[in-house]
């Protein structure tokens, strides 16, 4: 590893039943992936309020992964459908606000897809590394804050 290479900070918002378990399987299968991604456990992707994503960017995250059960496999029947619908709406809104939606990776990883999880982590890290640090978010947020005050 080149020491001065940019190491992105990536937060993964995952559901307890599929992706968290899938990431556990990545571990038990000893598949290696980059250290940049750190997981926060939610009961369901349906629980993931997208304001949390903005908070993460605000706190300095360079990239975000949201991952849950495949459609129809939700432990709670339909939480992932709500999350998907929310993502579709939210993506357009973020884009409109000038937030770089390429920095959010939305995916499905089941409890049996340990290798897929490692793959998603590595491709996301590579992609975000290419995009560079997300310094623009502060500008967007600052602008929005100013607008809100006016």
């Amino acid at each position: 590893m080149i020491m001065n290479e940019f190491e992105p900070k990536i937060v993964a918002f995952v559901c307890n039943w599929c992706t968290y378990a899938g990431a556990d399987l990545t571990g038990t299968s000893r598949i290696k992936y980059a250290q940049n991604v750190k997981i926060i456990r939610f009961p369901c992707t349906g629980r993931i309020d997208f304001m949390l994503l903005l908070k993460a960017f605000g706190e300095g995250a360079d990239g975000i992964i949201v991952s849950g059960c495949h459609p129809n496999d939700c432990h709670y029947t339909s939480g992932n459908f709500h999350a998907r619908r929310r993502w579709i709406m939210f993506r357009g809104l973020l884009d409109l606000l000038g937030i770089d939606v390429r920095r959010i990776q939305y995916s499905w990883v089941s409890a049996a897809e340990g290798a897929k999880w490692a793959d998603i982590v590595n491709t996301t890290v590579t992609a975000i590394r290419e995009l560079g640090p997300y310094t623009d978010y502060a500008k967007v947020a600052g602008y929005l804050e100013k607008e809100a005050k006016v």
Partner: protein, 667 residues
């Protein structure tokens, strides 16, 4: 001020080989609010747990973070340890240093730094944890079994014999289901009725079973242990208490030519009827759609002849409400009408019949009293052709899945035919012979070797009539693949097993999930084959997928055992991870504005409304209210709430935001 204890596990060398655990413990000790931190070789071992317990007592810890393996593995272990030391178990969180860190990264500073970040994240979360208490709900020890086929019968008997009350409902006038229609059963050739009818009688006589025939589920509300079921008892037009089942009405009824459902249209029944002589209960019902009195307003012959005056033309459907603690869905399957396959000529030629119709022909209680006779002229067929997979494994025109039972029953049919028609010739067109099951392969072998059934591997392209014969054109794909033409007297189609019509609506009524073919879905295909995703509702038999009798009975007993386990406790205890709507002092009462977006998102109908009233009873505010018995804790409502008035214990907004902030902010 929080006093948090952090316990870092080496997991032998699983964690310590790649993560500098001593440094993690040291860094954790510096975090604000951490009163104690240490590392140990095996935190989950007895000495490891003892350290946690001792420190809780010694340091008066208010929260515990165990940084070890996945919480999916040992969270219950450590929560129990905390609870034993007097700390609320929900004040304990786990940081996953093994599956999510040491096993997926090589040894480096970055790996240790990630471990420190993960620990810090959970420390911040624990600061906002609050003591929670398991939710206790009472259990109504009565089970509702829906469907009176062999699955429902077995489940009812098992639950009743375990000492619990059972309400068995069946939509038809008699219990028995498809099994009562079968002639003999593979692989033993036991007479189906001989083994089934004693159980039907046992159901009717069992003191713990309430049998409601001609009844359907109208509505199901509530949750595990506390369901409220509404049953529609369809009007039978007789007073069951007065009726003795003498059968005089059925013999005198002038409308006699109604195709009998039990005999799959191969026989007739009157408008007031008992489906079959061994029916349980053996009391007739009036078929309102065919009865002269209901159609034209006059007749009433049955009323005149009834010796006990039991006929009630003015009877109406009755809705009965009952409290039940568990539900077993055992609604069975249906046989696909093969009319979608015009090449087989079903519906066009009388002597092309389905497998279920053949069962009735071969049955001693059937329309021909067990003689194999063609429906068209009653002649005994000298040559018979069976077509397997008539609809199954045919994604283009039928269903893509295998109906599972047809290979075996077709072999049985051919065998029965050979036993009953001496010198007859039988042919089976098949794709594969799927005879997985105890003694099944031996059974199909017996058909081929001992009974000389001709198995032809290939499909049939056309069936047509010529000179009173059914010409079956097909292909033999083995050896020198060649066309085959058979002049048959009768053709039997092994039509596919499909979900019952109405199973989709029923699943929605019960709030259970169903698959693309409308079969009910089990909670897990391997490890939870009898549970559904809705706690307290279990599955038995072919309503889940096509299956044969032994499998159905096993699953029914499995479902019954699950019900008995549920009923073995007076109260249910479950994790208190549920959503809560906030309450605040007057005049606000709650920040909830009553938009009920949460209720539309909830998959469990757990959100109702609460009216906040003043002392005089005037409604001041209408807010959402979560039923903790129904809530499963997904948190979808939390993300939906526009006014941030609903939150979920264990994954609250405070906890999640503090995790995000802690994760990204290394000191």
């Amino acid at each position: 001020m929080s006093k948090i204890g952090v316990f870092i596990c080496h997991c032998g060398e699983n964690i310590s080989a790649t993560v500098d655990v001593v440094k993690v413990a040291e860094e954790a000790g510096k975090l604000e609010g951490v009163a104690f931190s240490t590392d140990y070789k095996y935190m989950c071992s007895d000495p490891g747990q003892t350290i946690i317990k001792q420190m809780i007592k010694e340091k008066g810890l208010t929260g515990v973070v165990v940084a070890a393996c996945s919480p999916r593995m040992h969270e219950p272990t450590f929560r129990k340890a905390c609870s034993e030391a007097g700390l609320n178990p929900y004040m304990c969180e786990m940081s996953n240093l093994r599956e999510h860190c040491s096993w997926v990264h090589d040894k480096s500073d970055a790996t240790t730094q990630k471990a420190i970040d993960l620990v810090r994240t959970l420390v911040e979360k624990v600061k906002y944890n609050k003591p929670l208490h398991n939710i206790k709900v009472p259990v109504t020890k009565t089970a509702l079994v829906i469907g009176g086929g062999i699955a429902g019968i077995q489940a009812s008997l098992d639950i009743a014999n375990a000492g619990h009350q059972v309400v068995l409902i069946e939509k038809d006038p008699s219990i028995g289901g498809h099994m009562s229609q079968l002639s003999e059963t593979f692989p033993t050739l036991d007479c189906s009725q001989c083994i089934l009818t004693p159980r039907m009688v046992e159901v009717a006589q069992h003191p713990n079973i309430t049998l409601l025939t001609y009844a359907e589920l109208e509505k199901l509300e509530g949750f595990i242990g506390n369901f409220k079921a509404t049953i529609r008892k369809k009007a039978k037009s007789i007073d069951e208490k007065l009726c003795t089942g003498c059968g005089l009405c059925t013999t005198k009824c002038p409308t006699k030519k109604i195709p009998s459902e039990f005999n799959t249209g191969l026989g007739f029944r009157p408008a007031i009827y008992v489906p079959f002589p061994q029916a349980v209960p053996n009391k007739p019902v009036i078929d309102k759609l065919n009865c002269q009195y209901y159609l034209k307003g006059k007749c009433k012959v049955c009323e005149k002849v009834c010796p006990t005056g039991a006929i009630r033309f003015d009877q109406e459907d009755e809705l009965v409400e009952m409290e039940v603690g568990a539900v077993v869905a055992a609604t069975g399957f249906n046989v696909m009408e093969p009319s979608g396959f015009p090449e087989y000529g079903y519906g066009k030629y009388k002597d092309v019949i389905t497998g279920l119709q053949f069962e009735r022909l071969a049955s001693a209680s059937g329309p021909t009293l067990g003689e194999i006779r063609r429906p068209s002229d009653g002649a005994i067929p000298k040559k018979i052709v069976f077509i397997a997979c008539a609809g199954s494994r045919d994604p283009a025109k039928g269903i893509p899945y295998c109906s599972k039972i047809c290979c075996m029953y077709t072999a049985k049919h051919a065998m029965l035919y050979q036993h009953k028609v001496h010198g007859g010739e039988s042919y089976i067109f098949y794709m594969d012979i799927r005879a997985g099951g105890k003694n099944y392969e031996e059974f199909t072998r017996r058909a081929i070797v001992d009974d000389e059934v001709n198995y032809i591997r290939g499909r049939v392209s056309k069936v047509y009539e010529e000179n009173g014969k059914l010409i079956v054109k097909g292909v033999d794909t083995l050896l020198n693949a060649k066309p085959v033409e058979i002049e048959a007297d009768m053709v039997v189609l092994a039509s596919a097993a499909v979900a019952n019509p109405g199973s989709e609506e029923l699943a929605q009524r019960m709030h259970i999930s169903y698959d693309a073919y409308n079969f009910f879905s089990e909670a897990h295909p391997k490890l939870k084959p009898v549970e559904t995703n809705t706690a307290g509702i279990f599955l038995a038999g072919a309503c889940q997928a096509p299956k044969d009798i032994p499998e159905t009975v096993s699953q029914a007993s499995g479902a019954a055992a699950k019900v008995a386990i549920l009923f073995s406790q007076n109260e249910l205890s479950r994790e208190p991870v549920v959503a809560v709507v906030n309450r605040s002092p007057a005049p606000l009462y709650s920040t909830c504005v009553g938009c009920f977006m949460c209720a539309t998102a909830c998959p469990y109908q757990a959100i109702g409304e609460e009216l906040i009233t003043d002392r005089k009873g005037n409604v001041i505010k209408r807010v959402a209210k979560v039923n903790p018995g129904l809530c499963q804790g997904c948190g979808t409502c939390v993300a939906f709430c526009r006014s941030k008035s609903i939150d979920i214990d264990g994954y609250s907004n405070e906890q999640m935001y503090s995790e995000v902030m802690a994760l990204l902010n290394a000191e």
